[in-house]
Symmetry: C2
Subunit: 479 residues, 2 copies
């Protein structure tokens, strides 16, 4: 069954004006294109497709190549009150790129230029549509890394990272994307092009980079960015350790960070994650596996690595040598692709719940999430990023439900988890963002952010053309 979105905004005038900007081949109103751009990787959308429902089809897709084109498109759409949804690689996990109100998908993937790599100032200037993997390959060729290496590296864009406040697997060392941004160029909903200043630091009032970072396409379209880059590590130190329980693993990580050490990668698995994901990779470890990988100057890495292992041993961590860490490292981008395989099976549900809390609260959050999910749901959890003050925590949830009950189970599980998080010091998201999935809870947990966001939205986007229906605090009962 296909429920097409009513065409409400497209007319000959709009099409002609867009063709005037983009030519004939970079605007599409084809049915197949519309279906392709009707969802991102939000599992709820996949569940819909599995039952033959294709909702939220955009009316047009546009492929701009320059900031000037983005500006002209937004000016037209602002004048004609047409919704515009910025779109990268479509691998968002929460529905942020779903065109809820029809209108135009602004696919930025043709804006994929690496404009400059500065060896002097250690930064890269690039457009938002470049895939993470392509940017990283280009940087590697020059001896650099961005240090932003999400599991989805091959299926996600720089613009997507910026718009959601994404985290890479090496965030423990390099920080999240918001820690890497030097400046942004943004096209506002009325077509105005603005740039923040390229400087290492400043004290010139509030920092408006942080307004657009995480704005999920609702306040402006990011069209260029200056990002910090790093020389590739000279040397690595790999180690896998096993703990009797998660608490000992968490305490080891906490102490390692507390001493000022910053591993390049960490992955602390709970018993379930060790027994499933890690064992399936061929890592034959029991208990709770901790993968520790240090990178940097040769002497430094060895010194940090040995000290970290010593800390782990002090908490009865069993040293399994380099192998488990090397195996995980080789497969670090594979896990991202499991979702599609699992959801291809009928009657399955699947998603990842990624949260963060201080070290004080993290075990409470772990227990709260486990306690909240319905008994039909299986959870496995790991810590993918750690900071001096706390860490992130990522659960995979899998389950089975008879056909037509899958959505109900999926929604119930999420609702229970998000309710529980608010009471235990956990934040709703560490790196996937809000999208359609968590907006009701965001608005409830952050009433002031909601007020400020609405004030800014009114100022910047009075006709609500940019990604409408997001960040509006409205419940999404029916998708």
């Amino acid at each position: 069954m296909t429920t097409p979105t009513a065409r409400r905004h497209v007319n000959v005038e709009l099409l002609n004006r867009l063709r005037d900007v983009l030519g004939g081949t970079r605007v599409s109103h084809g049915t197949l294109d519309g279906i392709s751009y009707s969802r991102d990787l939000w599992p709820r959308g996949t569940l819909d497709v599995r039952r033959g429902r294709i909702e939220n089809r955009p009316e047009l897709i546009a492929w701009p190549e320059t900031t000037e084109e983005v500006s002209r498109i937004l000016r037209i759409c602002n004048e004609m009150r047409v919704p515009v949804v910025p779109f990268g690689a479509g691998s968002g996990m929460c529905g942020a790129a779903v065109p809820r109100r029809g209108g135009i998908i602004l696919d930025l993937k043709r804006m994929k230029q690496v404009e400059r790599i500065s060896d002097q100032s250690n930064l890269v200037v690039c457009q938002p549509g470049i895939l993470g993997a392509h940017l990283e390959r280009e940087l590697n060729r020059h001896g650099y890394t961005l240090g932003h290496l999400p599991g989805s590296l091959g299926t996600s864009t720089v613009g997507g990272y910026l718009a959601t406040r994404s985290a890479g697997l090496a965030a423990t060392y390099y920080g999240k994307i918001e820690d890497m941004v030097i400046s942004l160029q943004v096209v506002l909903p009325d077509g105005t092009v603005v740039t923040t200043r390229t400087a290492p630091r400043r004290a010139t009032g509030p920092d408006f980079n942080h307004l657009f970072l995480g704005s999920e396409g609702a306040l402006g379209v990011i069209t260029r960015t200056h990002l910090r880059i790093h020389l590739l590590p000279e040397a690595y130190f790999f180690r896998g350790l096993a703990f009797k329980n998660l608490a000992a693993g968490l305490e080891s990580l906490r102490l390692i960070l507390r001493c000022g050490m910053r591993p390049l990668f960490v992955r602390l698995c709970d018993e379930d994650d060790t027994a499933t994901t890690m064992n399936e990779l061929g890592i034959a470890v029991r208990g709770c596996l901790l993968v520790l990988i240090f990178g940097g100057g040769a002497g430094m890495v060895e010194l940090s690595g040995r000290k970290a292992v010593e800390i782990c041993r002090g908490l009865d961590g069993r040293d399994h040598g380099e192998e488990p860490a090397r195996v995980w490292y080789e497969h670090r981008y594979a896990e991202h692709y499991r979702q599609s395989e699992i959801l291809a099976e009928p009657e399955t549900i699947f998603d990842t719940i990624e949260v963060a809390a201080t070290w004080r609260d993290i075990e409470g959050v772990y227990r709260a999430v486990r306690g909240a999910v319905p008994k039909e749901i299986r959870l496995a959890a790991h810590v993918p990023h750690a900071y001096p003050e706390g860490c992130s925590l990522e659960f995979t949830m899998t389950g089975r439900a008879k056909a037509k009950k899958d959505l109900e189970l999926y929604d119930r599980a999420w609702s229970l988890v998000l309710d529980a998080l608010g009471k235990n010091g956990g934040v709703l998201s560490h790196h996937h963002g809000i999208g359609l999935q968590k907006d009701k809870w965001r608005a409830r947990q952050q009433p002031v952010a909601e007020t400020l966001l609405r004030a800014l939205k009114r100022q910047l986007d009075p006709y609500d053309i940019l990604n409408p229906g997001k960040f509006d605090g409205e419940p999404e009962d029916a998708c």
Copy 2:
């Protein structure tokens, strides 16, 4: 000659309502108090006082002790349309705490509690009125440092750091204050108390901490903060090196940062700074002195230090051993007090110009500032903080002018410098902020920030009671 500010807002009702909140002894309308709170450490204000002009006197001073009291005061002032200027230690360098429109000074120094030091989550929870030195002493007692150690440590408060986006001398290692904030509690102009969430990182929309950080008292009153803390370094590595010119010193610093090393303190002096400030400390070095101090684990510090010295030698840096760095370190808080001594002399002018730029632009900025100042001005410059992508640059400017010509020379010098900065990639401030001094240039350089700021101000403070006359983009021709 004394020009009192016209009393426009205080009446018996206001005084009674404030006494109802604070009791009789924590509100003052005394003349001496009014004079004391009429300025901060903006040198222009000192020049005014030197000629006997005392302007901008507040009508009342209030000393709240709790968030609840701040909230009640703001609610009253919002209802009665009375200006409120948050005030810390009064050591701001740009006039941000000057009560331009009269009203009430909200002195937060009695809100000086260290509420909690979390050994588990490595953070401190404190009120805004505590002096940096007192907080640091308390943290040191527990084996920690905040890592925020400005030259003004003894004369500045945590609230002041947050409101201006301050930087400590160890910012190269620990970052600026905005890099240390986990969460804020803020009282909005209408008395609403809001808190951002305490979590290591998140992806839940724009980060509104960054809206209040740097807002210089114009958007809300910060009443509590969670800040990251660090174990005190185990070991130090001190080294002083001399370069033939500033370019070689800058290149050494750049390469050190580029290799992933983070010195605890750096100070790279130009020829003038070496020949004046450093020689006066008894550091007998010619050329451009670079002070390098590493801190951390013993082995790590030694490894980094030796590698950094090697880089400097590769650029003809002459190794002067530990002594110059140790001498600078012992006197690191002394320089801050020179301003008052110098300005006590008639006919002198003095100020610091602190800017930042990428490595690519920093030499151009250095030359532009030197080229811009009138010939009566002497400059000495140093780099107090360095980052992978660039550094800050701080000039001291001194000069002499016949009485009554001092203000004219002071204003002319600043105007020329700020004009020049915009054209050479420099930002107007790295850590002192905007205040009354740079607002015209800020508004001109950042038109979008200006628009966003006005939208937020309208939303949060429709009656313009909080620090009015700041961040309004108006020229300050007459102070």
